[in-house]
């Protein structure tokens, strides 16, 4: 188990994925693609948790349960966000963040 792959590789991989998500979050204009960037960020955090758990504390299960709960939170967040996005589309007929700039109805 764990033959040859240092923990740093996992962490660097998660870092690249996280900052790809940050880049998408900053540049995208479409609400759904922003949501996809957020999913990327959450997923990279999960990799971090699991790598730390497996390499540094293999006798415990904290990291695994934490990422399990993160997955559940991400799922409910995606469901609510997509409901909101569909409602915004019904109201404004667009989901471009720059055209959706009023909250009052």
């Amino acid at each position: 188990m764990n033959s040859g792959i240092p923990i740093q590789y996992f962490l660097i991989l998660a870092t690249m994925m996280f900052f790809a998500g940050v880049y998408g979050f900053l540049t995208r204009r479409n609400l759904i693609t922003i949501l996809m960037s957020v999913e990327l960020i959450l997923n990279s955090v999960n990799i971090n948790f699991l790598a730390f758990n497996r390499y540094l504390y293999p006798h415990k299960l904290e990291g695994m349960f934490f990422s399990l709960f993160i997955i559940a939170v991400a799922a409910s967040e995606a469901a609510v966000a997509i409901a909101i996005i569909i409602n915004i589309y019904r109201r404004f007929t667009t989901i471009n963040v720059e055209d959706v700039n009023e909250m009052k109805y």
């Binding site: 792959i5 740093q8 660097i12 999960n46 559940a72 995606a78 019904r90």
Partner: protein
């Protein structure tokens, strides 16, 4: 063998996550996101967390991506291309992301990780179920209950928000008038 698989999965993750955030076609971005999530589940298998890899496959790759693709089909044309956001915004975002990434990588390479000498615990389904419902020191019954209430609340909220409002009733303004 493990290192070859690791290289394969990590190359897929890096390439496809960059494509996800730069692709001009929205449906393609969703499919690239699916590839990223599937290779992440491969990484979990590599780390010997079979249960979490299965959860990742079913919930992320099966559930969330399908939800995203459905909402894409509901809200935009498939062949629609985004106009490129201004080069200034792209460049500054790239600088911010690259600076953060470089700082993180330097910190990671600098830090000395000290592994424990304790024996690895085998993660099987029985252990996961017992820990989820145990009230002992190693138990997770409180977060389990909180997450179940959160899931219920999210389900109700999604239905309430996305449903078409009833034709105007007194005292309860609906979200859409048509």
């Amino acid at each position: 063998m493990a290192s070859i698989m690791f290289i394969l999965f990590s190359a897929m993750i890096v390439i496809f996550s960059i494509l996800t955030v730069t692709s001009r076609k929205i449906l393609r971005a969703a499919v690239f996101l699916l590839f990223v999530l599937v290779s992440t589940s491969g990484l979990y298998f590599l780390l010997n967390y079979q249960f979490l890899a299965a959860v990742q496959l079913t919930l992320y790759a099966g559930g969330i991506v399908v939800l995203i693709i459905f909402s894409i089909l509901l809200t935009s044309h498939i062949s629609q291309k985004f106009e490129s956001s201004g080069w200034k915004k792209n460049i500054f975002s790239a600088i911010a992301a690259l600076t953060g990434a470089i700082l993180c990588v330097i910190t990671i390479l600098d830090y000395k990780f000290s592994a424990t000498s304790q024996a690895a615990q085998e993660v099987n389904m029985r252990l996961i179920g017992k820990s989820l419902l145990s009230v002992d020191y190693d138990g997770y019954v409180l977060p389990f209950e909180v997450i179940s209430v959160l899931l219920l609340a999210a389900m109700v909220a999604a239905i309430v928000i996305a449903k078409k409002g009833a034709p105007k009733t007194i005292g309860s303004p609906t979200l859409n008038q048509e």
